[in-house]
C-alpha cells in the first residue's frame, strides 16, 4: 500500500494540457536497419576510437529514436540497451537545451562508481555512445570523440545523399 493511499491524500499530478499542442514533428525514417549505410567505414571509425583511447570498452552508434545502427561492444552489455540509453540521455539533454535556450544537444557524460558512459551528438538523427572504464582519460576522450562523431556524420550524410 502506498503512502498516498494510507493518508487519503492524492499526489500532485501534472494536469493534461489543452489540445492546442502543435502537430507532431515529421521525422525522417529511422537509421536502424538501413542497408545503404556504409557499415564497414562506420565500423572502422568505431574501432579507431576504441584503439586510440585506452580504457574504451566499446562504442555504439544509435539513432535518436533509440534504435541500434552499429556497435563494437565485446563484453556482456547489450548494444540495443545502450542505443536506447543513449537516446534517453539525448532526450534529457535536448529538453535542458530547450528550457535554457542553450541550443542543440552536444555531449553528456555519466560517471558511475566503476566507469563512464559518454554520449555525443553525431547528427540530428544519430548518437555516439562510448563506454569507458573508471580509469579512462576522459579529457582525451572528449578531445578525440567529437572528431569521430564528425566523420560519422559525414559518412551518414554521404549515404543519405546517395540514397
Amino acid at each position: 500500500m502506498s503512502g498516498a493511499e494510507s493518508t487519503g491524500q492524492t499526489l500532485p499530478r501534472r494536469a493534461a494540457r489543452a489540445a492546442d499542442l502543435p502537430p507532431p514533428r515529421e521525422l525522417p525514417p529511422s537509421l536502424a536497419g538501413d542497408p545503404s549505410l556504409p557499415y564497414a567505414a562506420i565500423g572502422r571509425e568505431l574501432a579507431d576510437l576504441r584503439t586510440q583511447i585506452p580504457g574504451v570498452h566499446g562504442c555504439v552508434l544509435g539513432g535518436v529514436d533509440g534504435l541500434l545502427v552499429a556497435h563494437n561492444l565485446q563484453n556482456a552489455a547489450d548494444p540495443n540497451d545502450l542505443a536506447a540509453l543513449a537516446a534517453t540521455t539525448y532526450g534529457l539533454g535536448r529538453q535542458i537545451g530547450l528550457r535554457l535556450a542553450q541550443g542543440g544537444f552536444q555531449q553528456s557524460t555519466v560517471r558511475n562508481e566503476h566507469g563512464y558512459l559518454s554520449v555525443y551528438a553525431v547528427s540530428e538523427q544519430a548518437l555516439l555512445a562510448v563506454i569507458g572504464e573508471d580509469s579512462i582519460n576522459v579529457a582525451r576522450l572528449h578531445l578525440h570523440a567529437p572528431g569521430v562523431a564528425a566523420r560519422l556524420a559525414a559518412l551518414l550524410a554521404d549515404a543519405a545523399a546517395d540514397a
Binding site: 585506452p54 582519460n137 576522459v138 579529457a139 582525451r140 578531445l143
Partner: protein, 123 residues
C-alpha cells in the same frame, strides 16, 4: 584572485614560460590554464601528459619502489616541459604543468620556482 589563479600567474612569471596548467590526472581535465599560444592548446597538453604521469606512476608501482614522483622533466629541441605532482592533501591527484622556452630560461631556477609555487598552492 584565487590561490589557483595566483599560482598559475606566478608560474607564468618564470623566465621563458610559455604556458602553465593545473591538471587532474584522474580525468586528464584542467582546473586552470595560463599562457599557451595559438598553436599550443594546453588542454590537449594536459590530456596527453596525464598519460605520461600515469605511466610513470604505474612503473614505480610495478617496480615496488614505494616512492613517488617529485617532478618529471621532458626536454624538447626548443622547450622544457616540467611536471610536478602536488604533495598537499587537498592537491591529491593533481599536477602542475609548465612549458618553458629552452633558450630563455634557467632550468634550475625554473624548477626551484615551480617547487615553491607547488608548496604554497592550497586548494
Amino acid at each position: 584572485m584565487s590561490n589557483l589563479d595566483a599560482a598559475l600567474k606566478s608560474a607564468m612569471s618564470i623566465d621563458g614560460a610559455i604556458g602553465a596548467a593545473l591538471v587532474d590526472y584522474t580525468s586528464g581535465m584542467t582546473l586552470g590554464v595560463a599562457g599557451g599560444t595559438g598553436e599550443i592548446d594546453l588542454t590537449v597538453a594536459a590530456a596527453g601528459n596525464t598519460d605520461v604521469v600515469r605511466a610513470k606512476m604505474r612503473t614505480i608501482e610495478m617496480l615496488d619502489l614505494k616512492d613517488e614522483i617529485e617532478d618529471i622533466l621532458i626536454t624538447l629541441g626548443t622547450q622544457y616541459h616540467l611536471i610536478r605532482p602536488l604533495t598537499s592533501r587537498t592537491g591529491k591527484g593533481l599536477f602542475l604543468y609548465l612549458m618553458v622556452s629552452k633558450s630563455r630560461t634557467n632550468l634550475a631556477l625554473a624548477r626551484h620556482q615551480l617547487r615553491s609555487i607547488e608548496e604554497t598552492l592550497e586548494l
